[in-house]
């Protein structure tokens, strides 16, 4: 194992990871309807085309409603599950957590289809609401995992101290526990938001005719003439997710620093 060979390999691998993404801005600013080399010149037309497309704004509005609700609900469910998992011992704990984490190890198509079959059978109309139901199911395991590690690094003697000083269990949670796991809560909210915004299969099958960002993008792929505008949209989305990620990473590190832990790096 030569270190140099490993390093070169890793860099080559990063190039492979980034190669498709580099193409986004390249073709978003390329003055041609066809996505092909050679490039033919600089233009911002595609950003304007994208901006003027009314159906994009409808889809974006739906997506924001969904992603914000999903971020809030999943994080709330995650808080309950992770607090119970880290603070209490109770019978069938493993089984309960297993069911909550199950969506992580099931093909998404099967989860979506099972939900769809039941929703159709009991006559729930497909809408933004049913997309939210599905997304919360998918995001709760991520939230639970993030918050479990936040609760684990929490020193329990701080809670005991607060109780000894006369706080009630509820006020202890409010004054001591929540502020200390706040960085975990924020990164859970951001990650659930991002997952929900990007999610396609559930949005496609559980959404009825409601367009969201991912199904809008999927629809546009059918028309080659609209692809450059999607490249423009993709460029903007990449910039947005890098910003969100940087914020999430900042809070995660602050959380580790706050609880006095050592940074072992990375999400999840």
């Amino acid at each position: 194992m030569k270190v140099h060979a490993l390093r070169s390999y890793t860099i080559a691998y990063l190039v492979f990871l980034y190669a498709p993404i580099i193409l986004l801005p390249l073709f978003a600013f390329n003055d041609s309807k066809v996505i092909a080399f050679p490039l033919s010149g600089f233009t911002t037309t595609w950003f304007i085309t994208m901006w003027k497309d009314q159906s994009l704004w409808t889809a974006l509005k739906n997506s924001l409603v969904i992603s914000i609700s999903v971020a809030v609900f999943s994080t709330t469910f995650g808080l309950f599950a992770s607090r119970a998992a880290t603070r209490f011992e109770f019978p069938a704990k493993g089984a309960a957590l297993g069911l909550i984490m199950l969506p992580l190890v099931l093909p998404e198509m099967i989860v979506a289809m099972s939900m769809l079959v039941v929703l159709l059978a009991i006559g729930v109309p497909l809408s933004i609401f049913t997309i939210i139901l599905g997304h919360v199911l998918l995001c709760t395991p991520f939230s639970t995992a993030i918050l479990t590690s936040a609760f684990q690094s929490l020193d329990q003697s701080l809670e005991e101290a607060a109780m000894d000083l006369g706080e009630t269990p509820l006020s202890t949670v409010w004054l001591i526990v929540l502020p200390l796991v706040m960085p975990g809560i924020i990164s859970s909210v951001l990650i659930c938001f991002t997952i929900s915004l990007d999610e396609f299969i559930m949005s496609y099958f559980l959404g009825g005719n409601e367009p969201v960002l991912s199904t809008y993008i999927f629809g546009q792929f059918r028309f080659p003439a609209r692809v450059p505008a999607i490249m423009a949209l993709g460029t903007i989305l990449v910039c947005l997710s890098i910003t969100l990620l940087a914020i999430a990473e900042y809070f995660r590190r602050r959380g580790i620093a706050k609880s006095g832990g050592k940074d072992t790096g990375g999400f999840l």
């Binding site: 390093r7 599950a81 998992a85 079959v117």
Partner: protein, 290 residues
Amino acid sequence: MLKHNGAGKRQSEAVSGWLLISPTFLYAGLLLAAPLVAVLFYSLTLKDVGGFSLDNFWEVWTKPIYQKLMGRSLNVSLSVTAVTVLLAYPVAYFVSFHVHPSKKSLWLFLITIPFWTSYLIRVFLWKVILGYNGVINSGLMSIGLIDAPLQAINYNVQAMVLTLAHAYAPFAILPIFVSLEKIDRSLLEAGRDLGENKFLTFWRVTLPLSMPGVIAAVLIVFIPTVGDYVTPDLIGGGKLPMIADMIEVMMLKQNDRHMGSAIAVTAMVIVAIVSLIFLFLNKQFLRGTK
């Protein structure tokens, strides 16, 4: 808490624990467990006549069309898993063993960024790269290396494997990295001191100790790719349908919940069996290296 109150305390702890976890548990029960039970029920009953029967499964398991689709899905997922994990291991190894601790977060950040950009757009970009009039073909033609577009690189299983290996890369790197990080470095020195060379130390110490991460990576990549819907559609051009397409066609286009459910349950059973085989092989491997 008083000492003689131990049993009572344990009981109240159990109650508090269940109360606390119950909202999340009920949600997963209603929206996941109940639908899965419904699908199982549909798969075991017949469409028009009703009544319990294994006929749906018999059809799924014996009809060549289903066998072909299952085979293709399994082939694609297993290839993707092998390619992704093999390509990812050296990267995780490099970051864990040869990057200064203060720089590790940055490397992981670099690796995870592409993963947080729209999955759909990433998959589509591979179509743009590999397509008939795509980046590679138009690029090679414009510099005069080829006269006609290459057809060997688009709309086939290899293109799907490449696309998915790209899409799931961070899922493989992160668990392997975490398990490599947990390895006590002094064990490696001990191995070296006891006269093993670098390769044997890797084979008998590092690799077995990182196996939990490898297995996690294998499962995390294998399970979702079996049910992937976007890649067969965009990269396969709809000509290479997989299990997910079949479930969609049955459930929605032919409105046959019973057959659709039988395919879904079959897919879950296959996923479970293959996952168990991976876990079993891992156990055998760990026993063999001791």
